[in-house]
Symmetry: C3
Subunit: 272 residues, 3 copies
């Protein structure tokens, strides 16, 4: 119970800090998620910048408080930009979130995610179970943006990746797990079954994790805050939604409206 | 009347099959439609993947059940990807939908659509009257995404294209026509006058046609299913919408909520 | 008071002309704003085309009534397309709006905006205070899409740019200023504090300014019309919105529903 109280305080403090400091979050994300990720960050109180030109990445790394890389619609020139941006971020001490969308669905996606993990300092790897298992070399049935795997089944793979790359692994699903090299640390269970019927809510979770990283010193805490905020806003939105169209819109309204009381009442958090 | 009953059953069966099998639909579409097409597919029960990197197109053709190509914001490298993906799809027996957005507005759009029709196996060509007439060599007044032409005026052009390229042609407008080399087969009349005030609903119709193709053996049937679902969801959404913003959101809710009863009550289908 | 009456008539006349003539507005805009700008133009009654392929830009300049260039997610090949399109527009007498998103945040953004102003005939430069000050060489604290600066503080910079490049400068903020080489001409004060929490509403203002330019002979008038329509639709949307998600949707509904009465009641316009 005391642990949960501490978690509630952490989530509330992060929201407060994001609204107060409006961290600038640099996103190199996929075309599908550009608008929705920018809107999720703005609704929460952060400030997004979307940029992928090699000429400006080093400059931007001096300006921003977090970098979110999402490989959902990659191509050769974008992969180069992702690597350059992640290296610049590393040089400047800017924390990096990596969302390996579709790892396992094609070799170039798996390879790009692994190269980013190997060559650049990723603080939080945030994906679904299929993606995480694929990156650990397990034979996952990834179908692009979807995953058939239960998130709990990815704990072993996540632990291996956390150890190998010195990062925190945040696996989403009906339950979300925050995983370090010592195994699963936290299980979060907010959310709604309708959420996977809206595109890019997982990408929004990664963007929100980036905003949390900008104001929360420990990646493991930021990763939990990111999934908590996404899950709570998503489940309230779903309660008021006749379908996924309305859910997507209300999700932004709920991120905007989040209060300490809502967080305290809603957070489904337990030590794993 | 019996024909309409059969059409109702076909549309209902397709929705049931999409929700049960969740076909993976690969989209190489324009930047404007990326998010809305992915959301339309998810709302209906299908699973979208957006990908255009040459390195992964052959692999993805082994994974997906349909390919939707939309030339709305084309450029040289995307055209190459479209051709490669369509050829891989042909090799693997994956059915292809082509949406020739803006054919007639510029030579490169007309030429790209014609080259895809000539060089790759397109199952369904899905566009508006201006686009279809332009591709048949008629002097249509295309204005990019809009068309000034009545869909009925494109039946001759559609029939010529269906014969020349061995495909089904699906022309949208206040009335939609499904056309084979023998002429118009079916006229569908669902929809609402506010729908053209929302961008990418035509692109959504093409994506939904792709999902229908994945579960419906005959392209002519899949093409009709695609327009029926788009028209029915769109007209219910419009009845509840104060304007095009709300229509866009409700369109997804209605795709999600579609029932056999709604389809049976609403479908405006007649043999042409 | 008579001046305001004239302004009301001008805004109403522009809306009427856009709905009647449905001007085709060519947008080379950023990935985040593609869908929302197209939807804003359609909701208002204009017709959008998004295109950036070098092969089609000259042709399109013969077809369109305005060009809107927005550098929000630029890269080398897009910069080349922007310049080519702006030059073709100039040759054909098509008026150009430039939205210098993120000028000041990186050298390539500042330089690209300046090169477009120098090399091509921009009718209206439409940005926030930080961007305008950066382009005038002032040391603005631009943070990508955001600005910390009050719009009134950019009047001097705007006047300098208007003189140097022979354009009208439209600066957005809680108050919007329309600036010529003689200084601020008009102050518009519609809008709502929640609007900056929705991404790409500034980009929508630029797109709407493009539609206004297509039907309004004087750039200074078109620039005021663009900000008036954006501000009025935005403030009504905000009155009905629980948060930025709903605001974004209702913004389109309100553009669609705008009447002469609403404009006459709402317009907050004064000579500056």
């Amino acid at each position: 119970m005391d642990d949960r109280k501490q978690a509630v305080a952490q989530v509330s403090d992060a929201v407060k800090a994001i609204r107060e400091h409006r961290p600038l979050v640099h996103n190199i994300t996929n075309y599908v998620a550009m608008n929705s990720s920018a809107n999720a960050l703005l609704a929460l109180g952060a400030s997004p910048i979307m940029a992928h030109a090699s000429e400006e990445l080093a400059e931007l790394s001096e300006l921003v408080q977090a970098l979110v890389i999402n490989i959902g619609t990659l191509s050769a020139s974008w992969i180069a930009a992702m690597k350059l941006a992640a290296r610049s971020a590393g040089d400047k001490g800017v924390p990096v979130v990596l969302d390996p969308v579709g790892a396992g669905a094609s070799r170039i996606r798996t390879r790009t995610a692994l190269e980013l993990l190997e060559e650049t300092p990723v603080a939080v790897l945030r994906g679904n179970a299929g993606e995480v298992k694929s990156l650990a070399g397990e034979n996952a049935r990834s179908r692009g943006v979807d995953s058939f795997e239960a998130s709990a089944d990815a704990i072993e793979a996540g632990t291996l990746l956390a150890e190998r790359y010195g990062c925190i692994v945040s696996v989403s699903g009906p339950d979300d797990y925050i995983i370090s090299s010592e195994g699963a640390l936290v299980k979060l269970s907010n959310g709604d079954a309708m959420m996977p019927r809206v595109t890019t809510l997982g990408c929004a979770a990664s963007a929100i994790t980036g905003a949390a990283l900008a104001v929360t010193p420990e990646p493991r805490d930021a990763a939990a805050v990111g999934m908590a905020l996404t899950g709570i806003a998503g489940e309230i939105a779903a309660e008021h939604a006749a379908g996924p169209g309305t859910l997507q819109v209300r999700f932004l309204d709920e991120l905007y409206a989040l209060t300490d009381t809502t967080i305290a009442e809603r957070l489904r958090w337990e030590a794993a």
